[in-house]
Symmetry: C2
Subunit: 304 residues, 2 copies
């Protein structure tokens, strides 16, 4: 399969490298890592074993890549305005687009531009950071939950999942992609948001009674907002407690938004907080604590 | 009048210096500034004109100071457990204690230890920072609103106010000290809290629609909690809008709690946020946004 990786940050480089190692023709759209990858290839330091790809197809523009079977989108969501330029040249009538981006609204943005029938979405449970140019550090997990944006050929998502599995990625197909996205938000909104705001890892949040309650309260707000979106099956409110128990053994884990803030990068506030808040409000769900968290985060990152 | 200044930070040094310049016998309990004040005296850089006091009575212990007519308390509230050691040696039967500390609970702490009849409280509207040892920078304002903790001799507060006025300090006596304290909290809780949490000055808060609404919402919570404490006259809810208008011309003003956080000092979270929150709850007033702000601040300053 010919695959273009658009948004080759840690996630794009990591999955792209695995897919290439499994025999796919993977083409990376690169900016920061272009020279390093051309000169030295791509190195993955992984808890599952390090590997190096010597010959990696890196490109500076999508036009040079040409048409592909699959576009894998790993772009940070605040750069979504570049999707047209990056993706249009890659598309034949048959090309599928899989977004593994954070938050909500990404499938919609792709569908409105390129047609809903092409679009699949995936939620990646991946702990991965970029190192020096040409190097990726895979610290943990990696599972993908994917599904069709609109119901289409039921075999297509399974076929795609099979490609990931043969590349060594645990991959599960779900009928309700929207539910998977909201389940991820139940974790992402409180932990990414509060860790980024306070500068603290997840164990400090859970170790403070008031903050632990706040995490739980925000999770309940997100569950209610998600359930108001017309999911096939509601997310039970007990999911909040499960997510907290799931987080407990992570210790001093630093979510990506905290790392982004520490390193002075833009935060994905729109996709991870603002869009879910707006989606909740549209359905009449009050999310006062989520709204307060977003207002504080936006204020904290103002440059004056 | 013989006056002991206990807690000689920026506020204590500033008012103490003015009172000494006006002819009072002022005795400063010093720690950080002891040597500098002994060797070089005390310098006040003030918007009202700089001045220098060459001979300043600095002491390392309250026992050396001996009994005084007035104890002026400017101690940071997180050090209130030291009040006994610092104040007991200063007291005759006639000694009054005036606390100009932040937040609530300070008159109560002094009253329970030294007797309510001695205690007066004041709210200082002062913008003042410490410079190098022996130097204070007075950046703006300075007005004091003071009153008796418990009703007592009505002339006593006026007499004290007269001492401040003859030292050049605008000073107003109020019958309802509690109301004055809560009015100050209406400003202090949102602005000190959110500025310290987000690292931003007041104009950035007011320039963000969501944050500006949050400031207003928290002010309303504080007004309702204050009014539930049995004030002589309720604080109207329109006071919130007035406080925001009052803050607008301050521009990029950095409240003391923000400066404390930037300089790695302890924050007065207990007196300024936790005690008012507890006082509201005791009267059945729900303060969800104030509670969330406190939980986030406490989490942010956790050391792991």
């Amino acid at each position: 399969m010919r695959i273009a990786v658009v948004g080759a940050g840690a996630l794009g480089l990591y999955y792209g490298a695995l897919l290439q190692r499994a025999g796919n023709d993977v083409r990376f759209l690169l900016r920061r890592d272009f020279e390093a990858v051309r000169d030295r290839g791509l190195t993955v330091h992984s808890i599952n074993g390090d590997f190096h790809l010597r010959d990696v197809r890196g490109y500076r523009s999508a036009v040079e890549i040409g048409m592909v079977d699959l576009v894998l989108v790993g772009l940070k969501t605040f750069a979504n305005h570049l999707l047209g330029e990056f993706i249009a040249p890659l598309l034949s009538a048959e090309t599928r687009i899989l977004t593994l981006q954070n938050g909500i609204g990404n499938e919609e943005a792709l569908a409105s531009r390129f047609g809903a029938e092409r679009v699949l979405g995936g939620v990646a449970f991946l702990c991965c950071n970029r190192g020096e140019p040409g190097v990726v550090h895979h610290l943990g997990a990696g599972r993908i939950v994917l599904g069709e944006f609109r119901e289409h050929d039921p075999a297509r998502a399974e076929e795609l999942a099979a490609s990931f599995r043969s590349a060594g990625v645990e991959c599960q197909v779900v009928r309700d992609l929207k539910r998977a996205r909201w389940e991820k938000l139940v974790w992402n909104i409180p932990f990414n948001g509060i860790c980024a705001l306070t500068g603290q890892p997840v164990d400090i949040l859970l170790g403070h009674d008031g903050c632990r309650s706040l995490v739980h309260d925000i999770m309940i707000e997100v569950i209610r907002a998600g359930n108001a979106q017309g999911l096939r099956e509601d997310i039970p409110e007990s999911f909040a407690g499960q997510m907290i128990s799931f987080t407990e053994p992570m210790g001093p884990y630093r979510p990506s938004m905290l790392i982004d803030r520490e390193e002075g990068r833009l935060l994905e506030l729109d996709a991870i907080l603002a869009k879910p808040l707006a989606a909740g409000r549209e359905q009449g769900i009050d999310m006062p604590k989520t709204a307060m968290l977003l207002a504080l985060l936006e204020t904290a990152v103002e440059n004056g």
